[in-house]
């Protein structure tokens, strides 16, 4: 019973994860997203265009298809922008926080003493902008792993070193 009363006082004074200031992703990462999106839509556009060009019966639908194409493109860009804006990360003394989501804001918290390993990933386009992605793995399966994209290479290296240091200390 004593523990219980202790705990109720404690909870209000504990450090609050919801009040942590999140760092946002590097602005250049938005360019990376735009480039990958435009490559994807370019390929799709070429594919659809070829189909329309060679099928004479589909000519009347040309304008409708292009409207759908443009609307889809705008929607995807809009949602990617929201997703980009919502993504954020924070490193506290004892855990790492990652915020993400489009309609729902999710916050994933991993304590350092549950981290299994850390990896650094550089995509083709990202490398051109000097950005890297940090992957943090736990034993809880893929739903509890963190992938933080769009961090400047140097900073990412530093973060990885920091995490490695934290894990080592726990062991």
């Amino acid at each position: 019973m004593e523990d219980f009363t202790n705990e109720t006082i404690d909870t209000t004074q504990l450090p609050k994860f919801e009040e942590v200031e999140f760092s946002v992703l590097h602005p250049n990462y938005w360019k990376v997203i735009l480039i990958s999106l435009s490559v994807f839509f370019l390929l799709m556009g070429i594919g659809v265009g070829l189909v329309l060009y060679f099928n004479k019966e589909l000519y009347p639908f040309n304008s409708k298809v292009s409207i759908v194409y443009v609307v889809l493109l705008l929607l995807v860009i809009f949602f990617s922008r929201i997703s980009f804006k919502n993504k954020g990360f924070a490193f506290r003394n004892h855990d790492v926080l990652f915020r993400y989501g489009i309609i729902a804001i999710n916050t994933l918290v991993i304590p350092y003493n549950r981290v299994q390993h850390v990896a650094l990933h550089e995509g083709l386009v990202s490398r051109f902008f000097g950005l890297a992605k940090i992957q943090i793995f736990t034993a809880g399966g893929s739903s509890s792993d963190i992938e933080i994209p769009g961090i400047a290479k140097e900073q990412a290296e530093n973060i990885k070193q920091l995490l490695m240091g934290k894990i080592q200390k726990q062991l």
């Binding site: 909870t11 855990d95 999710n106 918290v109 003493n113 399966g141 509890s144």
Partner: protein, 509 residues
């Protein structure tokens, strides 16, 4: 008595036979359509062809026998004490060497399938934390040797934790372990409990399995005879309307009875003679009618414990326990869960006491917001009704009574959703987090805060003002989610759990 596992060893000589039967099984499974066609057309063949066929089969058997023999020769296992590894080499042309570090071994299971039981050997399977498939698998080994090897494989783990290094004490350890091994099991699930659990559980699952079975059966009949049994108009010609109703009713009853019988038989076959023994703080389970299985549960590796009970089972004082241990985190964790069916309340408490040192109590209760009920009603009733609205005109010609069916569907699903909502609760106290869920089968998932790997909180942006949100706790044995609860309370508990996890270096595995 002490077998020497330092030198590479072969399996029991009888292992050739076991391997032979297993590979035969494998080929039969792969080739059964061909075999059936062959057998059906058996009469149509000429005599000389039959002789050639039989000779072919004989030759196949001999080749298979030789392959089994070679496989047996090339299969060796041993323990490398220098590097603390368990090594299995196998393969005739493609050699495979499996090396398992002893400290990674989680479980050593000794099983016996029907074939193995016939020739009196056992199977030894080594389970590690790293992956979810069984890595080391010895197909034929005598019982004494299996027990011995198991003790050796797990003994190192004890050495690691206790750090005992002189061989004398470890030898003593083994001998004590053996005496404990023979200690009488403290829980035996009686045949009656199995009967009770068999007739009261898994209705929905077996129903769908049976339905799928019948659909494929009808499909096959249709393919073979070219007639559609389900839509045969002739049936209505020689059976009048009242008879159709009774026939339908009888069909329904037989279907339901079949579900129960299948459940019962399945439960009894898999869990017959269920024994639970204590061994150095671990639980030692063994069960099975034809295939005997035995496993070890180590309390510290247990991630999620779930207790399932429905209304009938509550009246009959039986329940279903499921224990999920740490897995590789893949989708298959359901398969790796260890089930203990048909315990009564006292037995459940004894098992929980062994796992947690005390009986989990339900603490502060969190309820989901009524919007959760609204959302699931929208998904399961609203959307289907919307679809029905558009196709109603087409269906009503075929089936004039369709409206009644739809009404029945709505009421049925509505009641289920109401019960799901009513049963969905999260209980939190200092030592345990218990998630209660389910409509008919009410499940309580129990986890200890220190087993949490990561925590996700989630909130839809239009739920910010009414202050509700969701919580997912990730453990190495799966996730636990609670949706649309009081977000302030959830955040407070998340902070508390994070604090507890980060200030202690408790072992989650």
């Amino acid at each position: 008595m002490e077998a020497d596992f330092n030198q590479p060893q072969r399996q029991s000589i009888i292992g050739i036979f076991v391997m032979f039967v297993y590979s035969l099984q494998g080929y039969t499974k792969a080739l059964w359509p061909v075999l059936i066609i062959f057998l059906v057309r058996f009469n149509e063949y000429e005599k000389s062809n039959i002789v050639i066929g039989i000779l072919c089969v004989l030759a196949f058997f001999i080749v298979l026998g030789i392959i089994s023999y070679l496989r047996f020769l090339n299969f060796t296992f041993h323990i490398d004490h220098e590097n603390e590894e368990f090594i299995i080499t196998e393969g005739i042309f493609n050699k495979t060497k499996t090396t398992i570090q002893l400290y990674k071994i989680q479980q050593v299971n000794i099983n016996q399938s029907l074939i193995q039981r016939l020739v009196g050997v056992y199977e030894l399977a080594v389970d590690t934390a790293g992956s979810n498939k069984k890595e080391g698998n010895i197909r034929a080994i005598s019982h004494e040797l299996a027990l011995d090897l198991k003790a050796r494989l797990l003994e190192n783990e004890n050495k690691k934790t206790v750090n005992v290094e002189d061989t004398i004490s470890t030898l003593e350890e083994i001998s004590t372990e053996k005496t404990i091994d023979t200690e009488a099991p403290f829980i035996k699930i009686s045949f009656l409990s199995l009967l009770k659990i068999g007739i009261t559980s898994n209705y929905v699952k077996s129903f769908f399995v049976l339905l799928a079975f019948f659909i494929t059966l009808f499909d096959h009949i249709k393919q073979i005879t070219g007639k559609d049994v389900l839509h045969d108009d002739n049936i209505e010609d020689y059976v009048d309307k009242s008879q159709v109703v009774t026939a339908f009713f009888i069909l329904f009853i037989t279907f339901f009875l079949a579900v129960i019988v299948i459940n019962l038989v399945k439960t009894i076959f898999t869990f017959f003679d269920y024994k639970i023994a204590r061994q150095k703080g671990s639980l030692l389970l063994s069960y099975g009618l034809l295939n005997t299985k035995s496993t070890i549960i180590k309390p510290e590796k247990v991630q999620i414990t779930s207790i399932t009970q429905n209304y009938f089972q509550k009246k009959m004082n039986v329940l279903h326990l499921k224990i999920k241990q740490a897995t590789g985190g893949e989708k298959e964790d359901n398969k790796l869960a260890i089930e203990i069916p048909g315990c009564d309340k006292l037995e459940k408490d004894a098992i929980l006491k062994l796992l947690f040192q005390k009986i989990p109590e339900k603490g502060v209760m969190l309820k989901p917001n009524f919007r959760k009920l609204g959302f699931s009603v929208f998904l399961t009733i609203g959307l289907p009704l919307l679809v029905f609205y558009f196709v109603r005109d087409l269906l009503i010609e075929e089936l004039p009574t369709i409206d009644y069916f739809v009404l029945l569907f709505v009421v049925f699903i509505g009641i289920i959703q109401l019960f799901i909502f009513k049963n969905n609760r999260l209980y939190i106290n200092d030592d345990f987090i218990i998630l209660q869920s389910g409509a008919w089968d009410v499940t309580n998932n129990i986890i200890i805060p220190s087993k949490i790997q990561a925590i996700t909180t989630s909130q839809l942006f239009w739920h910010k003002n009414i202050n509700i949100g969701s919580l997912t706790l990730h453990t190495a044995g799966g996730n636990i989610s609670f949706q649309l609860g009081n977000f302030t309370a959830i955040k407070q508990y998340v902070n508390l759990w994070l604090y507890e996890i980060e200030t202690s270096d408790s072992n989650w595995m």
